[in-house]
């Protein structure tokens, strides 16, 4: 599935200082019934975002006009639980291109990169700095520089580097995906399979 390439993202951010945000919260199971990959953003964080009468909950951050941006900043162990890629689709469809946390669950991290969302893992200390900066100024700008592998808080200049393997970085920078790569090596795969 094609996605927009990612290079340098400058944006304000939405803070969600909650730990262990699981994919059931990101997109509850009852919204997994679509057979096409679109419209999931409407139900992103559905049960935290809306009450049982489908009215927006005013105390939830996505309903607070003070905060907006293309970067979601979450607490430790973001994306745990179910492997549903719909969680990554919902985040992307809502308009986020980057999720920052001090720790990501494995499957979510992989799914995010596969759909064009950059997961940026920072130290717990730097995560705290980001939350503090947003608390001070809700419009504070973060700069996520994929080529340089750095994330910077513009107002303070505080910066930290993040890890990503060279292969995935190349894919994100160019909007390539794994299927393109695998299709190009099918004869090698067939050889391997024939020996099994």
């Amino acid at each position: 599935m094609a996605y927009d390439s990612f290079s340098v993202l400058k944006s304000s951010a939405v803070p969600m200082p909650i730990e262990n945000v699981d994919t059931d919260q990101i997109i509850p199971a009852r919204f997994l019934k679509a057979t096409e990959r679109k419209g999931f953003g409407d139900n992103l964080f559905r049960d935290w975002r809306y009450d049982k009468n489908d009215q927006p909950k005013q105390d939830f951050v996505l309903n607070n006009p003070t905060y907006s941006g293309k970067i979601l900043v979450g607490g430790k162990n973001f994306g745990s639980g179910s492997s549903r890629e719909h969680a990554a689709w919902a985040i992307y469809d809502y308009g986020f291109r980057c999720v920052v946390s001090s720790f990501f669950a494995d499957i979510f991290r992989g799914n995010a990169i596969n759909v064009g969302i950059l997961p940026v893992q920072v130290s717990p200390e730097f995560l705290h700095e980001i939350f503090t900066a947003i608390e001070k100024d809700s419009k504070t700008e973060l700069v996520v520089d994929l080529p340089a592998q750095t994330i910077t808080i513009s107002a303070t200049g505080a910066s930290e580097s993040f890890a990503i393997n060279g292969y995935k970085k190349h894919n994100l920078l160019n909007g390539f995906d794994d299927i393109d790569y695998l299709q190009a090596m099918k004869s090698e795969i067939a050889d391997f399979a024939s020996k099994r």
């Binding site: 019934k33 639980g81 549903r84 995935k168 299927i179």
Partner: protein, 467 residues
Amino acid sequence: MSNSPTTLFDKVWDSHVVRKIEDGPDVFFIDRHFIHEVTSPVAFLGLEERGIGVMYPERTFATADHNTPTINQHLPVEDPLSANQLQQLATNSAKYGISHWGLGDPKNGIVHVVGPENGITLPGFTIVCGDSHTSTHGAFGAIAFGIGTSEVEMVLSSQCIMQPKPKKMCINVNGQLGKGVTPKDVALYIISKLSTSGATGYFVEYAGDVFENMSMEGRMTVCNLSIEMGARGGMIAPDQTTFDYIQGRPLAPKGADWDTQLAYWKTLKTDEGASFDEEINFAAADIEPMITYGTNPGMGMGISKHIPKASNVEGGVATYAKSLDYMGFSEDDSMIGKQVDYVFIGSCTNGRIEDFRAFASIVKGRKKADHVTAWVVPGSHIVEAQIKEEGILDILTEAGFVLRQPGCSACLAMNDDKIPAGKYAVSTSNRNFEGRQGPGSRTLLASPLVAAAAAITGVVTDPRQFL
């Protein structure tokens, strides 16, 4: 291959690497691929948009389980969205030549129950599915884990995915398990000690005499829950228990092929002296029947204990308070005696015959509490048939329980089996996340024995008093 001591995990992983990408993931070959109706439609759509096909349809197996009703399966599925997903699974499977066990098929059931019971899951295999509880199949000494839909499309189109090799962890549990302590309790205990992210980045091997003495059903329960501590998967070295379970299953190797495979399977164990990135030891004697009190599977404790104080819990105090508030519990509460409104026995975690035997051992000769709604859901039609053959159905009926039809059911509540908002459910499933079993539902994860004791008394009860 080198002669240095090697782990079980390395043996299986390394033999499936088609290509190593420098500063990137491994191109990893997949032996068996399971698909279901919820996470596959977009993958098939992707194939069509790219104009590519399925490379090895004989290596993929489809079953309908996630959104299926657990009553009146002979009638058309009422929810149009679910019906559409089921239809697409059937259509896509037929189009690409994939075997499909749809609703009503005698082989139908939860993907992680039907794979093993039909002999599709074998030692030394790599197995994936768009479902995080694919880790279940590690019980056979396979590397098995959940994947996203993009990866489902990769496996369909090239039989490979791109995976960085995880680190290795060994979890040893030795000694004698106490009365009323089941494989579910062993797993919930380990998760409570490691937390939901304690094994993230790792693939786990479970070792020690507790697992050696465990049935295949029990090993599947343990491996199933590996994902709940963040691990990519968990595995147990195959042994005679494994081989006995597999032999004679419909799709298991036969004749000379069996002998060849068996010889290979016997090499699948961690060599003496092989090293892990992390090794953790637990004593069986420290484990009692477990129950969860919070909103992730790491928030569990021995059923006789009190809910920990926030100051004694690692991590964010605010997150902990939010969790207890959702559950309507307070620090230092005892769980014993808490009201129970619903009981669910089933799921890929505890939906096998051994689980229903355990449940029946307590409800036999007793009556379900009047105010408790109980959903008893077998993992497959084969399990359902066993329940009937062994006389368990009679015990259940006598005690006031109704046996439903197979499916994932209230574990993730995609069908009509939803726990109402604010109600408490003792559930043998795998996740107690907010709203997991229905919007506003409150889940207490536990073993089939704890579920049975709760169903009889209507409150959280230590099952050991019935044993």
